[in-house]
């Protein structure tokens, strides 16, 4: 890892009353990698992710993007900084079509009077863009004008991922991207995540699925009781070893 990290978090602390969700958690994300975050329930994975995506503000600690210190007060701030998130429940509007969902909240308007005064949408342009993204990510659908509710689970995940990949400038965060999928569709989504990386966007993902994690991730960050306890790779550790670290069966020195 000779390159500098794109995203760094140092000593993040988050308290909810008496409960301490993060106790000085760290993270580094390097270019062109897929970093998986694993940990038992309550380890702080979701909280860490939310801090990185602007959904909550840490009480202590620092986040750096490309070396610059950043403070995200809302998810919009994180998006503005180029960080896109794929939520566990996808956050798509099923009645709207694929293109509409890709551009939801960021719709393209026509140029000129029609766009500025009548605020008319450029549906053709949005559809073309969405089609292009789908093609690059090799997601197969019958038509970009299909309503999302007509898609299979894997295709829907594809929509959510494509949306994040289309807008992200720096990195993409994914929360349990294969949780609701069957075997075949899981495989397709894993391929999809690799293609996101190939587009030059590093990915942080949370997953409970050990085999998937070990198949996909370049590095694996293990969290326990609100902090990072280890960073391993599939090459250096086996699944069983990682799980042991995760549950505390194996004690490790906190790795930096």
């Amino acid at each position: 890892m000779s390159a500098a990290p794109i995203l760094e978090a140092r000593g993040l602390v988050k308290r909810y009353g008496h409960v301490v969700a993060l106790r000085g958690a760290d993270l580094e994300l390097y270019p062109n990698e897929i970093l998986a975050i694993i940990g038992d329930n309550g380890a702080g994975k979701s909280t860490l992710i939310k801090a990185l995506s602007g959904a909550l503000q840490p009480d202590e600690g620092e986040i750096r993007l490309d070396g610059e210190s950043v403070h995200f007060r809302t998810p919009r701030d994180a998006r503005g900084a180029g960080i896109e998130t794929v939520y566990q429940d996808l956050a798509v509007a099923p009645a709207l079509d694929i293109a509409a969902n890709i551009f939801l909240g960021r719709e393209a308007r026509r140029r000129g009077v029609l766009g500025r005064i009548l605020r008319m949408l450029d549906q053709g342009a949005m559809r073309r863009e969405a089609t292009r993204h789908f093609a690059e990510l090799k997601i197969g659908v019958q038509s970009i004008a299909q309503p999302v509710e007509d898609l299979s689970g894997g295709q829907r995940q594809g929509v959510a991922v494509a949306r994040a990949a289309a807008w992200a400038r720096r990195l993409v965060i994914m929360d349990e991207p294969t949780a609701a999928l069957g075997v075949k569709e899981t495989g397709q989504v894993l391929d999809l995540i690799r293609r996101v990386r190939e587009r030059g966007l590093p990915v942080i993902l949370i997953s409970h699925d050990m085999p998937n994690v070990f198949e996909l991730a370049d590095r694996i960050q293990i969290m326990r009781l609100g902090r990072r306890v280890a960073v391993v790779t599939p090459a250096t550790h086996s699944m069983a070893e990682a799980v042991a670290i995760m549950t505390g069966a194996t004690q490790v020195e906190n790795d930096r």
Partner: protein
């Protein structure tokens, strides 16, 4: 393809249900079409009748009278009504549609004295004879003719009666009207006060409320009046269902029939029976059947001869009571029962 719990594609189910919806519409229409009877475009003269609502026995009798007369004359009666006694929007729509349906004349008890004049004017300019029944319009010239009880007289009669039986003493009076804009309501109310010999601002009138012209609303209105003034001697009610509701409230408050004098207007059979039972002391009987059948006659005559009826035709009113009092002409309950409606 999105799948439902039972595995069938949702899109398929939606189109199946859409088809079911459309078939149901078709079936419904066949059913109503069947009840339409013979073709509506035969050469019979069409007469329209529009009442305030469908349920008040007064209007039921009116409709029965119109139907019978139409049948006798070989005319076809088209009927419509509002959803309640203040619904003029439905009446306006009915006027328009009946004109398109080809009626020669429309008989109508207007829910609002003014709000329907525009629609009536359009009907008249299309050559349709419009006769107001029972409730006058404002202005009176908005319609061709008015066949009605002289509602002012009806009020005067019961006003005089109430004054006579209370022997000139100072009393407390409650008045249950119906909704604002009701011309009938205004006439009967003012007739009562005139007959009683007082102004509307007289202090003996302690409560004026909207009893809606029906039983449950009048009970509520009377209860509220009693809260303000537990001692009521005289109750004026716009019609007999209203009187029935008022009586329930008074009875529940511990009054007996001899404590209170209740007067009303209408002369429906149920109301006359209430007079017999002593609940209502006197009622002004009017003759809706006569209004309706005369109306049908007038329209058919107009259709045949082009002769329009105009002006005001008084269809008569009689005071019905079993306790007549000097100075106020009245007829017995037996007479009332023989000539009642509903």
């Amino acid at each position: 393809m999105r799948h439902s719990l039972r595995g069938r594609p949702v899109r398929g189910r939606r189109s199946a249900l859409t088809a079911a919806l459309v078939l149901a519409v078709a079936a419904a229409m066949l059913a109503t079409g069947a009840s339409a009877g013979t073709s509506a475009d035969r050469a019979a003269i069409k007469v329209g009748l529009i009442t305030k609502d469908v349920t008040n026995p007064f209007f039921v009798k009116m409709r029965a009278g119109a139907t019978a007369e139409a049948k006798k004359l070989g005319a076809q009666l088209l009927y419509a009504a509002g959803k309640n006694s203040s619904d003029n929007a439905s009446q306006i729509t009915a006027i328009e549609n009946m004109v398109t349906a080809g009626v020669k004349g429309i008989l109508i008890t207007v829910a609002d004295a003014k709000a329907e004049n525009a629609a009536i004017a359009k009907a008249r300019s299309a050559g349709v004879l419009v006769i107001a029944l029972d409730s006058p319009t404002d202005p009176k010239t908005a319609v061709d003719a008015l066949f009605a009880t002289n509602n002012l007289n009806a009020g005067i009669l019961i006003g005089k009666y109430a004054r006579a039986v209370t022997k000139g003493q100072t009393v407390t009076i409650a008045m249950l009207d119906e909704h604002a804009g009701s011309s009938v309501g205004a006439l009967r109310h003012n007739g009562f006060t005139q007959g009683f010999g007082i102004k509307n601002s007289d202090k003996q009138i302690v409560c004026v409320a909207n009893g809606g012209g029906d039983t449950p609303d009048s009970q509520t209105a009377m209860e509220n009046c009693l809260q303000k003034n537990p001692d009521i001697d005289v109750v004026y009610t716009i019609n007999e269902p209203s009187a029935a509701g008022a009586w329930t409230a008074l009875k529940n408050a511990g009054k007996t029939t001899s404590d209170v004098t209740i007067v009303s207007v209408d002369g429906g059979c149920a109301g006359v029976r209430n007079v017999k039972a002593g609940v209502i002391d006197a009622t002004s009987q009017q003759y809706p059947l006569l209004m309706a059948s005369k109306g049908v006659d007038a329209v058919v005559n107009y259709a045949k001869t082009g002769e329009k009826v105009s002006g005001y035709t008084d269809t008569g009113v009689n005071l019905i009571t079993d306790h007549p009092t000097a100075g106020v002409p009245s007829k017995s309950v037996a007479y009332g029962l023989a000539h009642c409606w509903g």
